[in-house]
Subunit: 221 residues, 2 copies
DNA sequence: AAGTGTTATACGGTATACAATAGTCTGACA
DNA sequence: TGTCAGACTATTGTATACCGTATAACACTT
């Protein structure tokens, strides 16, 4: 058991990140430092450090002397992010399947179970747990930079998915895909899990595309 | 002409980043905040913001209550970084070649010229200008996240290349490869420039591998 | 040699102050 | 009526001073 000490700045980082991902702080919103610091009961120093980190992560934008703003979502970026995920994640997951230990497989199983539970109870946690499951399939690769990049891409995806996707039936299909992924992955069937992951990502992108089309039509009606 | 205002924290970020890349602050070194702040003539607030950013960029590591340390270099990571570059950069450069405008082509040409000049005069600038040239081939793609990831990978590479590679003859070969790349790229020959970029990256990796072998043999002798 | 205080250093954070800047408002003037 | 200058305001970015405490190094005991 390794205990982890977290600085205030790191805690604020995750907290604000989650607020942005979940949309509780909407796109384009300005971050009022004094107000937010007061609300969180901290001074502006650890807050500003967290904001600097979040800008580096691509969730915030800063203009000198005007402060930080939540990075707006735009359709082109969805295509970009998913293209990147398709280039990196299926291969990574496939390779990781070869290296996974029993402990890794248990962890992935647990992550999927947690996701399934949340899907039926606390919807607000679905995004986070979905990401956790995806990452658990990559982690055994032990490639830190790869892992970090994939995680970052997943975080950005989460913003879009949370914002635009919740048609009925999606949950079921996602559940089935995840189960199949985990089975193949646990069996070390690298190529197959890789292919399925590619498909899983592509389908989600396709759903997003359709949803954007819908929203555009509604907007122009 | 768009003027750019830079906060102190952003300036410190680039400055410290360059010191790390160039090795002026060696791997594993501890960053003494008070000392560095005093040396730069700034307070610890903007310095710490810059350090937080640099950790997010993967150049520093922090331990709570112990501070920031320069992330050590290790051989496995070289393989990882180059694998990622090979997955992303050739395709990106190929696509960018299709989209490049005259202005883009001029910029790339200028970047290569600057690199060539530095190769014969100010060796300390070679790393930075090499990266600038590579990035100029990707920039017309106008994919911000892709661009940022590739830049980050190039920055990490720069640390290894600067540290381990300067055998004679490499400069010439690199120059020839760069020229050929630029020609194909400017002609919009997407597939060819993509293939050549793949080769260019692979060759550099191969050089690094050889160099590591050499260093290992020397060390064990 | 090993384990147990003790101490110094540097970090993480708070509170406060202030100059600089961007945005807003107002009123004068063409 | 429109716009332009200038005053006003809000907020950022940075500095300074200070505090509690975690960590590492050292001394001390057994």
């Amino acid at each position: 058991m390794t205990i982890v000490v977290q600085t205030l700045s790191e805690q604020i980082f995750s907290l604000v990140r989650d607020r942005i991902i979940s949309g509780r702080i909407p796109a384009d919103a300005a971050i009022r430092q004094d107000a937010l610091a007061a609300e969180l009961g901290v001074s502006k120093i650890p807050l500003r450090e967290a904001l600097a980190r979040l800008e580096q992560e691509g969730l915030l934008l800063s203009h000198a002397n005007r402060g930080y703003f939540v990075r707006p979502l735009n359709v082109d970026e969805v295509e970009e992010i998913y293209a990147l995920r398709l280039k990196l994640e299926p291969d990574a997951v496939g390779e990781a399947a070869k290296m996974a230990t029993d402990a890794d497989r248990k962890a992935a199983r647990a992550a999927l179970d947690a996701l399934d539970v949340a899907a039926n109870t606390d919807k607000t946690q679905v995004g986070k747990l979905n990401r956790a499951f995806h990452m658990s399939l990559v982690r055994p690769l032990h490639r830190q930079v790869t892992l970090q990049i994939i995680e970052r891409l997943n975080i950005i995806c989460e913003r879009y998915v949370g914002k635009h996707l919740e048609p009925a039936g999606r949950d079921d299909r996602a559940h089935n895909e995840h189960s199949a992924l985990l089975d193949l992955w646990s069996a070390g069937r690298s190529d197959e899990v890789s292919a399925l992951m590619r498909q899983h990502i592509a389908i989600t992108l396709e759903d997003l595309r359709k949803q954007f089309e819908m929203e555009k039509m509604v907007a122009s009606a």
